[in-house]
Symmetry: C2
Subunit: 228 residues, 2 copies
DNA sequence: AAGTGGTCTAGACCACTCG
DNA sequence: GAGTGGTCTAGACCACTTT
């Protein structure tokens, strides 16, 4: 039986787990492992690189490879388009464009996106429905500079989906908080004001500058699940 | 100037962003790209593998490499030990063990961990403090089978930290929800009952079976931030 | 049947950093 | 200065999937 890089990764992981190589310990160099397993050093390198990406080991030139002392667990969140998220739950998807205005950017919005205060922006409110029930209320500030002329019809394609397919998003961040439903959210989603909602706030940067700031207020009971 | 795999990754990414290669399009094969860039095929492979892991492209044998039609954005969450999380925010860390009992597993807890109902479990309540103020209330069900004899003193080292350093955690999941503060949480954290709290619920499996089910109720205003 | 990505090898050079 | 990981090459074989 010949060994592949995944088997070597598994074996190294096993030795770490059974504490042959305890947290903080220096493990043998690539050359030594390659010889032990009877493979090329590149194969060992592939395995160790994968473990380093997973946060299990820490590698430094000259210093060698150590088992992470306080393993930082990394969980990955896949952020799908809302339509696919709903369909993936086995529910029918629909959405309603509740508001669509051109307004000057309020101070906090402009600040978070790095745009001048008062800059004209597109304000969109979209209610996403799952199985006919409110699923997410999307409140979006959109930099109109990224839109083509004429702009797309966000009543036909949700802004969420249009952006993903038509604008090259470069970087961004997402923050989760628990917040009481605002009066507007309560009204639109049919819950009592103050009901705890899971809110995701995302900012996104494109190649030509800031693209959008969006607040997603999820219906009560919504769970964001990640595995690691 | 000679090209490395990161530069090739950047160039491919650029062509995707400027829509030389639009979503859904088939991009040239590794061999062709290697020739164009004047590098070995392995170098191109390294670059494309990285892009595939990032969800930018989709690769299939025989079918070739396509630009992802609906790019699934992937965000990574690093879950540090709570103590380091607090210190990283520039605040002093402390914790108080509020409860420590041996009790039979309630049905929902046993079910989620895959343990028999009524199994004796260690129940721990730990309040983590940041700058002297409540930061997180940790409610933990712990499978005593993973503990050594004699068991550690969780009043001296928080269960959160002891587990990370002493038990080999294999897999798990984490779910975020927004929930109203329970009366107990309200009392301990000094907030009004029903206040929206960001709750993280984690289950963890070790090599020798289920390890722990923990509920982390974060103080109001807590933000979980991820970048992508 | 054929073409694609996935992987491995043996060798090499380099950058970094620790002692 | 020397040893480590990071990367590249040229070639090869294989598994898979689509045609």
């Amino acid at each position: 039986m010949t060994l592949g890089w995944e088997e070597i990764r598994a074996e190294v992981l096993r030795r770490i787990r059974v504490r042959d190589w305890p947290p903080g310990a220096l493990i043998p160099g690539e050359e030594a492992l390659a010889e032990e397993f009877g493979v090329a050093r590149a194969t060992v390198n592939r395995a160790l690189t994968a473990l380093a990406e997973a946060g299990v080991i820490e590698r430094k030139k000259r210093a060698g490879t150590r088992v992470a002392a306080l393993p930082v667990r990394r969980a990955r969140l896949e952020i799908p388009v809302i339509r696919l998220d709903v369909l993936g739950r086995g529910l029918a998807y629909d959405f309603r464009l509740m508001a669509d205005r051109q307004v000057p950017a309020p101070v906090p919005v402009a600040a978070r996106l790095g745009l001048p205060e008062g800059q004209p922006m597109r304000y969109l409110e979209t209610l996403h429905l799952a199985g006919g029930l409110p699923f997410v209320l999307e409140t979006r500030w959109l930099n109109p500079a990224v839109l083509p002329d004429p702009p797309p019809d966000f009543a036909a394609v949700s802004a969420n989906e249009w952006l993903v397919t038509h604008v090259s998003l470069v970087s961004g961040d997402i923050a989760f908080t628990a917040e009481p439903a605002t009066p507007r959210e309560a009204e639109v989603m049919g819950v009592a004001p103050g009901t705890p909602l899971l809110v995701a706030e995302r900012t996104t940067q494109g190649m030509a500058g800031p693209v959008t700031l969006v607040r997603l207020a999820h219906a009560p009971g919504h769970r964001v699940v990640m595995t690691f």
